[in-house]
Amino acid sequence: MNDGKMTEGIIYMDHAATAPAYPEVTAEITKWFSGWYGNASSTLYSVGRKSEEGVARARAQVAALLKTSDREIFFTSGGTESDNWAVHGAAIANRKKGNRIITSAVEHHAVLECVQYMGRQGFDVTVLPVDQYGMVDPAKVREALTDDTILVSIMHANNEVGTINPIVEIGAICAERGVLFHTDAVQTVGKIPIDLSAVHVDLLSGSSHKFGGPKGCGFLYARKGAKVDPYFHGGGQERGKRSGTMNVPGIVGTGLACEIAGSHMAQEAARLSAMRDELQKGILERIPDVKMNGHPEKRLAGHLNVCVEGVEGESMVMCLDMNRVCVSSGSACTTGSLEPSHVLLAMGIPVELSHGSLRFTLGSANTPEQIPYVLDRLTTIVGKLRAMSPTYRKR
């Protein structure tokens, strides 16, 4: 079995980009590639039924975590597919009803770029602003809702700053108006409780590799009755909603990860936020001219995003890497982008400052002993880079 050995000595603090699969998940997945390799749709013979059983169990595990019915869970290849499916599928299926899609300025690109693509196909797009913490105001959603609105897509928690949106309120407003509500919960599934029996959400995206499951798998929750076109057309798997030979190993691993994450969610959140708070306190105490980004309380337990004045993010990330610490600057999705973070800009942070953003996202690979070391290294690195900077002057 492969556990953390391969990355021994490395301090990984970029769990929002991707997280290691639970060792139990890897052990389980491994059985389904060359061993139980059947096609889950081939239920007329033994090898296929074995796979179907694995998928059924996994679907029940996902549904249990989200407190919903397993008939509303559709497995996908990850968060990006789920987001694209939700946006594209809802837009096309409801075109006769209206033409407007509402989203927020801080969505992940998987929603934002897809909405904009639909915009180029003739849909009208409203992008809602956020407050200084990156939060969407439900009142703004209510104001924006027009009669021709067919979809509202507002993320559950933001991947860069960790701010958690009031999806209960937003969902209620959408339900009142009979408008489909999609939430990108890629950063929250398995991390904070989601009770789909209590909150009105029509569509919800999850991505397994963000919570201890495998890369290459995810799901879309689609409430019974929600009108959404399929995105993958073909063999009619997933009751005609999502075609394609089912990724049995990935699905089985996703189910198990949901179960494990669900079993220790509160403890893990407490553990992470204790470490995160120590890191935050240490940085703000030891390094001058640093701004903390994101909501002070309504924030994911492992998230810490700061802007360091007078230094550029990438150079800090590289220096930390040389000290075997892995973190990211802004959104980790695309490397080498010169674009400032759209999330920080939407929060009103000046461009100059936004270039100095650093994101720590703690998770299963972290232990409290790592915090002092990281603090120490970071303090030295910022000092060195600021000394090299033509703009930074100690006040």
Binding site: E314, M318, G336, L338, P390, T391, Y392
Partner: protein, 153 residues
């Protein structure tokens, strides 16, 4: 993504700082773009040779590494030779840069050239051959503050 050479110059940047009483100063880039560079030079007035050159850079790994190697390449060169340092030369000196980082090699060379032009502007009696491209780029950079290419490949 970065070559060993880039990482070497990034980790141990040569010639960081500011030359005291510089003979020429070149500032390029803009904090809004996340990259800014200040090159200061000392010039031997007799043989028009760069005797000292230092940089201060705010920017990504490539920006720091290109600054470092550019100062290294410029040190000891005549002004004419230094003006002939091209972005290609800088990138090659680092064993290449990722496509989306090529603009950084412009930035460093531009900063050096600007410092030289600054020196020349204070010594109108010095007549050396300044490549057209250098003049043009320096004018552009005055206009736009910078000439980054934000497009990715």
């Amino acid at each position: 993504m970065y070559s060993e050479k880039v990482l070497d110059h990034f980790t141990n940047p040569r010639n960081v700082g500011e030359v005291e009483n510089p003979d020429g100063v070149g500032e390029v880039g803009n904090p809004v773009c996340g990259d800014m560079m200040k090159i200061t030079i000392k010039v031997d007035a007799k043989d028009l040779r760069i005797t000292d050159v230092k940089f201060k850079t705010l920017g990504c790994g490539a920006a720091i590494a290109t600054s470092s190697i550019t100062t290294e390449m410029a040190a000891g060169k005549t002004l004419e030779e230094a003006l002939a340092i091209t972005r290609q030369a800088v990138a090659e000196g680092l064993d290449g840069l990722p496509p989306n980082k090529l603009h950084c090699s412009n930035l460093a060379a531009d900063g050096l050239h600007k410092a030289i032009l600054d020196y020349l502007s204070k010594r109108p009696e010095v007549k050396i051959n300044v490549p057209e491209a250098v003049i043009k780029r320096s004018q552009e950079s005055e206009e736009h503050d910078h000439d980054h290419n934000h497009g990715e490949e």
